[in-house]
Symmetry: C2
């Protein structure tokens, strides 16, 4: 059945995104050609332009979907009662979600410079919205006397960098499970905010 001519719009679109995601993550946006993406999907390069106006839009689409999905996933999470419980929940959610989508995460911050200025601004807005969820938890905790920290914004950036860094070294099947890793990181986060 492979390569049969005809209409496949409902499955070809997702397949193009999957192939582009994987290839961009492995080789980088600029190093991957439309022909390579088409080859991975099993169509000719011209057919891709039925699904994206150009290569830039394909990249933006991947990043925007990733950020939208991340924000939605966090909105769907429950909200524990105390700042301490909320911070632990965020820590474990962030590690779990990011380890689950390594290609999306990798692209979302490695390929920012390949976005057009307008597309860059749009992704930065979504990223800032996600960071603000953590900053809100930290600020609430400071007001409630649960945390002691010098600057909620800087602590936000520090914690997110620390947590996202798990993706650079964690490999499934290694010395520790994802849950064990999350517990160790939660211990560090908890102490670093003075809780």
């Amino acid at each position: 059945m492979a390569r049969t001519a005809g209409s496949h719009s409902d499955i070809t679109g997702p397949r193009i995104r999957d192939a582009a995601l994987s290839l961009f993550a492995r080789h980088g946006f600029a190093a991957v050609s439309m022909r390579q993406i088409a080859g991975a999907v099993g169509v000719q390069a011209g057919a891709l332009y039925n699904y994206t106006p150009d290569k830039q839009s394909l990249l933006f689409d991947l990043m925007q979907r990733h950020m939208d999905h991340l924000l939605q996933a966090w909105d769907d999470e429950p909200t524990p009662a105390t700042p301490l419980a909320r911070l632990e929940h965020f820590t474990r959610f962030h590690i779990r979600y990011h380890l689950d989508k390594p290609d999306e995460v990798f692209i979302a911050y490695m390929e920012l410079r390949n976005l057009s200025p307008e597309n860059f601004a749009a992704i930065e807005t979504l990223r800032r919205r996600y960071e603000d969820h953590l900053e809100g938890i930290l600020s609430q905790g400071v007001r409630a006397g649960a945390f002691q920290l010098a600057d909620a914004r800087i602590t936000t950036m520090a914690v997110i960098a620390m947590l996202t860094g798990v993706n650079t070294w964690y490999r499934p099947g290694g010395r520790l499970s994802a849950d064990e890793v999350a517990t160790i990181y939660w211990d560090m986060v908890r102490r670093s905010v003075g809780a």
Copy 2:
């Protein structure tokens, strides 16, 4: 004087590296052509091949110099007496050094996937050597009873990710000086290792 024909080997080499560093950092290795680098230096593309056998070697040269220089700079630093003082020294050194060389730092971990397998292995060895300096400080501190942490290797990766993350948001002339930022981060590092 610009573009005069003749012999300039001692100044053209560094100028090529400077131009490549800046262009790779801004646009990415794959998105920059040898003609662009030559244009920034003020020579024709063919002249670059008197200084590098190919584009890949140019990238590797930049990364290797960066890692060599980082390791040498750390070796040149004094060694404070206690684990706590050593950890503070490493924290401040890492932030200062990395804020000082943002292009080198950016390339050194954004362009790893564009290295050939042999070159990648060489850079990873140097990176691991740098990480091991921090891991050594943490392990010593645990043995001396100065730190309480679950896993020296994971704490090493977490602390380095947190500290290097400063480069993603810090801009000179902003709300806080580099020294003030380093002090806030040192407070977080100190608490996260249970000191």
